[in-house]
């Protein structure tokens, strides 16, 4: 290569990696390509790629749009977006047919006259801001806050039906009721409302300027970031409203008593006749529907801790990349689950959780526990079956929790289909622990070995293959091949050689035989 070739190569490399060349350099680069066929061809290919990116987009099949819209609107729903058109008169009926010529002539005259008038007025009068008359101003659009169920644990109903986490947003007027369960809602922007057991709330207003939730019974804890000016959030009961602009507080409604407890910030509590009280952090006010004044008292640390625990799950969905964790119910209903050492929650449980690894701890009534790590991918749902929480001590009442071997295999297969080998391995482990004498418990050893190899855990993989080979079976060729690969990964050449020889002797026509014969030559030796 000449120095000129080198120079061009340098310029082209810099250009290709996104560096901005000076005008002279760019000219030099293009000039060289005009004289060198190879360089010219290279630039042609780059130009072709660029042209593909700049080409106008072609129409797509309507089915593509239809399917996307269908996926978005899982259930038909309507929501009023524009309020200004409410009550507007219907469009007037079309005018009766007239002579077209007459219509055009009259319109032209009117337009010409109007133009002359505007021109004259514009010259004579000083300019001033143009304010359109009220009737032609753009309608003010009422914007809604998005409210969505982000945690549902145990029995939770939305407007009388079961609704999963990650499904459609909630509508104004809908109710959320927790029987013995727990639930959290996320209302954009920055409002989390968590409900204790035996709580019913109604989404009274989701208008962005004034979000109101009515607590019909039970306890609702709200944590919200500071509201923008002109925007408010309040938790209400039948006769009391607790308005906040950025704080953590709870409203509890039992019978005719409303208890407003403030953990952080300040909350404005009002009662229907107009009685108003500002409640500061670590304080509470109890209001009875019957007569009586609003009385503030200090709130104990224990009570405060209990309230904060209600919203502790918030950290699960605090990240930007979220997936859904779906823990199935246990057949006996006796298990509870904690996520990342949070509060124990009833099953079934669904929650938004940040992408990454999470620790799930299942706890039986008798105190025995089972812990697994699970990985949640952004935008995906991670399903987990209840584990086998066995080994309870005598006298404890923890019932056996055993999904069938087939269901565990099916779950593991689903995880594999989603490219999640670690989760599949956990399920295979569960299967082997629950059904140690079953045929499946042995068969999955080979699968587990291959997965361990994929994950780079060669020693574990070797253990799995050897465990299978101890008793033999239909998968001996696969197990032997896996053993040889694991030994190779571990750098144990002589043993790898023996494993390959054993494979070739027993299965000379096996799937891996050609590769192993080649490998045997590489290994050399006697």
């Amino acid at each position: 290569m000449t120095s000129r070739d080198h120079r061009w190569d340098e310029l082209q490399t810099r250009w290709a990696q996104g560096e901005r060349l000076s005008a002279e350099e760019e000219q030099e680069r293009l000039a060289y390509a005009e004289q060198d066929a190879l360089a010219g061809k290279e630039l042609e290919l780059f130009a072709e790629l660029r042209a593909r990116g700049a080409a106008p987009a072609e129409p797509v099949a309507p089915a593509l749009i239809g399917r996307a819209l269908e996926a978005i609107n899982g259930s038909p729903r309507l929501r009023l977006v524009t309020t200004a058109s409410e009550g507007a008169p219907e469009a007037p009926a079309p005018p009766a047919r007239r002579s077209r010529v007459a219509l055009v002539a009259v319109s032209g005259l009117v337009l010409a006259a109007a133009s002359v008038f505007v021109l004259l007025v514009g010259r004579v009068l000083p300019s001033r801001p143009v304010v359109p008359p009220a009737e032609v101003r753009a309608p003010i659009t009422r914007s809604f806050a998005r409210a969505q169920l982000v945690l549902s644990a145990g029995h939770v109903e939305v407007s009388g039906r079961r609704l999963g986490v990650g499904q459609n947003p909630l509508d104004e007027g809908e109710t959320v009721a927790t029987d013995d369960g727990r639930a959290c809602l996320r209302i954009d922007p920055g409002i989390d409302v968590c409900l204790a057991a035996h709580t019913t709330i109604q989404l009274e207003s989701l208008a962005a300027v004034s979000i109101r939730l009515r607590v019909d019974r039970g306890t609702a804890l709200a944590t919200l970031s500071r509201r923008a000016p002109g925007r408010s959030f309040s938790l209400r009961t039948a006769d009391v409203s607790a308005l906040a602009h950025g704080t953590t507080y709870a409203v509890r409604r039992e019978g005719d008593v409303t208890d407003v407890s403030v953990v952080e910030g300040t909350v404005e509590v009002t009662r229907d006749p107009g009685e108003r009280e500002l409640v500061d952090a670590h304080s509470r006010v109890v209001v009875r529907s019957t007569l009586g004044t609003l009385v503030k008292t200090a709130m104990g640390r224990g009570e405060e801790a209990r309230l904060l625990a209600l919203g502790a799950a918030r950290r699960l969905w605090s990240g930007a990349a979220l997936g859904v964790l779906d823990l199935a119910a246990s057949p006996s209903g006796s298990l509870q689950a904690t996520i990342d050492d949070g509060e124990p929650l009833p099953l079934p449980l669904q929650a938004f959780a940040s992408a990454g690894n999470h620790r799930i701890r299942w706890r039986a009534a008798g105190g025995t526990e089972s812990v697994v790590w699970t990985e949640i991918a952004a935008g995906e749902t991670q399903h987990l079956a209840p584990p086998i929480v066995g080994g309870t001590s005598a006298g404890t009442a923890a019932p056996p929790e055993k999904p069938s071997a087939t269901s565990l295999l099916e779950l593991a297969r689903r995880e594999l289909a989603q490219s999640r080998p670690r989760q599949a391995l956990v399920l295979y482990e569960q299967l082997r622990a629950a059904y140690p004498a079953s045929a499946e418990a042995r068969t999955v050893l080979v699968t587990m070995g291959k997965l361990e190899l994929d994950l780079g855990r060669s020693q574990r993989a070797l253990g799995r293959f050897e465990a299978y080979l101890r008793d033999g079976g239909a998968l001996v060729p696969e197990a032997l091949a896996g053993k040889a690969r694991a030994l190779r990964a571990l750098g144990r050449g002589p043993e790898e050689r023996r494993a390959i020889e054993q494979y070739l002797a027993a299965h000379p026509g096996g799937f891996d035989a050609p590769l192993f014969a080649k490998r045997l030559k590489e290994l050399g030796g006697p």
Partner: protein, 212 residues
């Protein structure tokens, strides 16, 4: 209720024009924010308008980033759903088209990654002749040099950054943000892809002085 149509706002010029747009506030950008707010509020006419307006562009971007038309269709559908679902996060700082491009790129890469993992697993377990996509293609070193033959020979990581930069006009920093790879790695992939292109051209031209 306002009825939105896909022609509520004229289609924007594609390519480098959008890059300029992202630096200024467009006169009709506010209309897009309102349109997307309506989408976030589940207004069906707004959803349809946005889907119709963006679908061709989404399919084009997905098509450039996928190696097969079937994968591109899947990725385009997933991206369109993601765009509609993320409508609430659309801000005025960028054009709707460019914002949609980013969502499409992320979704397409995620879809492609999942598909490659699935294929990888299948390839481990199923003999090559039984794979739905068959075995690896047999290529002659003297086959015609074309853009498609070059792209098909690049590893997916190189292919991705090569297309993002040279076809879709994303900067190195933008690609780093989209792919999660450090900018240095992105540059390295661009350089290596270019070297591969150069090598192919030399091989076809019979030149043997390839030192790259």
């Amino acid at each position: 209720m306002k009825n939105y149509t896909s022609s509520d706002r004229p289609a924007l010029a594609e390519g480098i024009g959008d890059r300029v747009e992202s630096l200024v506030t467009l006169p009709d950008a506010q209309a897009d924010v309102e349109l997307m707010a309506a989408v976030a509020a589940n207004d069906p006419s707004a959803q349809r308008a946005v889907a119709q307006r963006l679908a061709p562009r989404v399919r084009k971007v997905a098509g450039l980033l996928c190696r097969s038309a079937a994968d591109a269709d899947d990725a385009a559908q997933a991206a369109l759903i993601e765009i509609l679902r993320s409508a609430g996060s659309f801000r005025v700082a960028t054009s709707l088209e460019r914002w949609a491009d980013r969502v499409t790129v992320r979704t397409t890469m995620r879809t492609a990654h999942r598909e490659r993992s699935r294929r990888g697993l299948l390839e481990r377990w199923v003999p090559a002749d039984l794979l739905p996509w068959g075995g690896p293609p047999v290529r002659s070193p003297l086959e015609e040099v074309s853009l498609d033959s070059l792209l098909s020979r690049l590893s997916y990581e190189r292919f991705q950054v090569f297309v993002l930069h040279h076809a879709l006009d994303f900067t190195v920093d933008e690609i780093a943000g989209l792919t999660g790879a450090p900018p240095g790695t992105v540059k390295d992939r661009l350089v290596m892809a270019r070297k591969q292109l150069r090598k192919m051209l030399r091989a076809r031209g019979g030149t043997t002085d390839d030192k790259s």
